[in-house]
């Protein structure tokens, strides 16, 4: 039997989707870091979690998504510290002072306590292109949770606050089950936070 007749099938790559999702996870990851400083509700959610909390949002199969092409030529500090998107995964964790920090995309050397994996890049693209609400995605089993349930719930709740602040109402409504009323989130607070958030995401973080 000629084994060469049966070559291993190499999965295809969807570079554009991968790149788009990489930018989105990078933006949202940085937004988490900023919102932790700006919003007391986000801060309360993460402060409740253990000091070793480290979560990763990724797409399955994990090994299929290599770091972006420029990661090889850029110095480590530019990509590993989240100054540019390195790849698809998003890692959030607590630093030595217990503050939430975006920790880039590279899981090497990090002890992940909670993993939220999306089943495929197409599903991830549907979510990040605002066609699938977060709650529906969760209920349709698009996420595979590996870790503690209360930690994943805290992340989802904080994610809703971050997205409501980050995105205009028409888009954010797609993500959340119920858009907060004026009583729950006064427009002045929302707009101040939104301006600060966008400014800091692309500057000091």
């Amino acid at each position: 039997m000629n084994i060469n007749k049966y070559p291993e099938i190499v999965p295809g790559h969807k570079f554009l989707k991968q790149f788009y999702i990489g930018i989105m996870t990078w933006t949202i990851g940085k937004a988490f870091q900023v919102m932790y400083k700006l919003d007391k509700n986000v801060r309360a959610e993460f402060d409740r979690l253990p000091a070793n909390f480290m979560m990763m949002l990724c797409i399955l199969p994990e090994d299929a998504f290599k770091p972006f092409f420029y990661a090889k030529i850029m110095p480590d500090f530019v990509v590993n510290y989240g100054l540019l998107p390195l790849g698809v995964p998003m890692i959030l964790g607590k630093d030595k002072e217990g503050k939430l920090k975006y920790m880039g995309s590279d899981k090497r050397g990090k002890k992940i306590t909670l993993k939220l994996c999306m089943k495929s890049i197409d599903e991830a693209f549907r979510i990040f292109s605002f066609r699938e609400p977060l709650a529906v995605a969760f209920n349709h089993g698009i996420y595979i949770v590996d870790g503690d349930l209360p930690e994943s719930l805290a992340f989802v709740r904080a994610m809703e606050i971050v997205l409501v602040t980050l995105l205009p109402k028409s888009l954010a409504k797609m993500f959340v089950k119920r858009y907060p009323s004026w009583k729950e989130l006064p427009p002045v607070k929302k707009w101040i936070n939104r301006v600060l958030l966008w400014l800091r995401v692309y500057t000091v973080g």
């Binding site: 609400p133 709650a135 529906v136 969760f138 209920n139 349709h140 089993g141 595979i144 949770v145 590996d146 870790g147 503690d148 349930l149 209360p150 994943s152 719930l153 989802v156 709740r157 409504k173 797609m174 959340v176 089950k177 119920r178 858009y179 907060p180 009323s181 009583k183 729950e184």
Partner: protein, 421 residues
């Protein structure tokens, strides 16, 4: 039929039901190459003689290695670790769980530690930590309500951290569920009522959850219909084995439904009352079910309206205008609670303020409602409910459930898009 854009469904528990179902266990275990089972149960089950019934039914064909009966009302990981030690020392090769939710969840926990090794159950906390097939597990429920014989979840407490830990994996599904009406015959009337209402809640919530699908719906509808038709009769005639078997089947069907479609707001509110005030799960569910439906009505009125068919029957369904079916279904559930309250001589509480402990003291004082409302955010059941709830609204719902008055639906915070299944 509502066909979602995506759904998944898994039910691979062999169910053995009938008046002589217990007699099948030795053969079923032999088919899985197991011959040294350990029984896990609680002292209440032993005291009413159910273990003797099971042993007698299995006869000399199966040698029970040991009976572990130290399971408390709220199981915790220390008990699980202790039972796993006994399992290893006695060289058992399978588990038979006999009891309610606590005994069954303990057995699932013991099976993890005994099959996978390790010193403590804590090593397997959370989702997806159990990644391979476990030893044979046979479950014999003694209440017709929890549906645990069909679920992939175990809820086990950590008394040091004062939390309830969740263990979830498809490998935790029992291999065999045995439904024998002899095992539920001794259940007192008020427990029959509350556990069956727990099953009713599983089925109703599965039917309007965001994860509903045609396969879970069929189990949910049949479960609701069977409970509606049999519950009051069985409470009034506890010796009716046929009715008992029907309730056991309904509980199992509800278990299949909610294991796949998940539960929602009622469980979110009920878990919190259970965790903080130690209200029995079935009691909390029966009280909060109409409130959970009422709160979600504006989001899923069509779907909740469809519940009227199995609850009220075809005549009531046909005679009620479409817009009013949801409200009518809720009204009938309240009436069911009232009928059970009357049939049990007041032992089946209708409102939170009516729940009393053995000494007659109030279990849920009004002062604790604020704490309960804040604590709802920590429970995972909230994810699958079609409507979002935050502490301010939860407090409003708890106050009404405490007083026994319907919710003022105009006061519910609304917003966002209509539910997309």
């Amino acid at each position: 039929m509502l066909l979602p854009s995506y759904y998944d469904f898994c039910c691979r528990v062999k169910t053995v039901s009938g008046n002589k179902a217990l007699e099948q266990i030795p053969g079923l275990l032999a088919g899985m190459n197991a011959s040294r089972p350990m029984i896990i149960t609680d002292k209440g089950v032993v005291a009413v003689g159910l273990i003797d019934i099971a042993k007698k039914a299995m006869g000399k064909k199966l040698k029970i290695v040991t009976v572990y009966d130290n399971v408390p009302v709220d199981s915790n990981y220390k008990i699980v670790d202790d039972a796993a030690r006994v399992y290893r020392q006695k060289k058992c090769d399978s588990i038979i769980a006999i009891g309610g939710g606590s005994a069954i969840d303990t057995a699932k926990g013991v099976n993890i530690v005994a099959s996978l090794g390790g010193s403590s159950l804590l090593e397997y906390e959370g989702f997806g930590a159990v990644k391979r097939k476990l030893n044979p597990l046979v479950v014999i429920p003694t209440t017709a309500g929890t549906g645990s014989e069909m679920t992939l979840v175990a809820v086990i407490a950590d008394p040091d951290r004062k939390i309830k830990m969740l263990f979830v994996s498809y490998f935790m599904l029992p291999d065999i569920g045995v439904l024998d009406p002899r095992m539920t015959r001794t259940l007192p009337d008020f427990l029959t009522a509350s556990t069956a209402m727990d099953a009713m809640t599983h089925a109703c919530e599965a039917y309007f959850s965001m994860e509903k699908n045609p396969l879970s719906d069929s189990h949910a509808i049949q479960a609701i219909q069977t409970i509606s038709q049999n519950l009051l009769h069985v409470v009034k005639n506890p010796g009716d084995l046929k009715g008992r078997a029907a309730l056991a089947a309904a509980s199992t069907m509800a278990g299949v439904a909610f294991s796949n479609a998940m539960v929602g707001l009622v469980h979110n509110l009920g878990h919190t009352v259970g965790a903080i005030c130690h209200v029995p799960h079935g009691t909390a569910m029966s009280i909060l079910l109409p409130y959970g439906l009422e709160y979600s009505l504006h989001r899923a009125s069509d779907v909740i309206g469809e519940l009227l068919f199995p609850i009220g029957g075809p005549d009531v369904y046909a005679a009620t205008p479409k817009k009013e079916r949801g409200e009518k279904a809720i009204e009938l559930i309240r009436k069911m609670n009232q009928d059970l309250h009357d049939a049990t001589g007041g032992k089946h509480p209708r409102f939170l303020k009516e729940i009393r402990d053995r000494n007659g003291a109030q279990v849920v004082p009004e002062s604790v409602l604020e704490t309960l409302a804040q604590a709802i955010m920590l429970d995972g059941a909230r994810m699958s409910n079609p409507e979002e709830i935050y502490p301010a609204d939860a407090l409003m719902v708890y106050r009404h459930a405490w007083e026994g008055t319907p919710i003022n639906r105009k006061k519910i915070d609304k917003g966002g898009k209509k539910v997309k299944w």
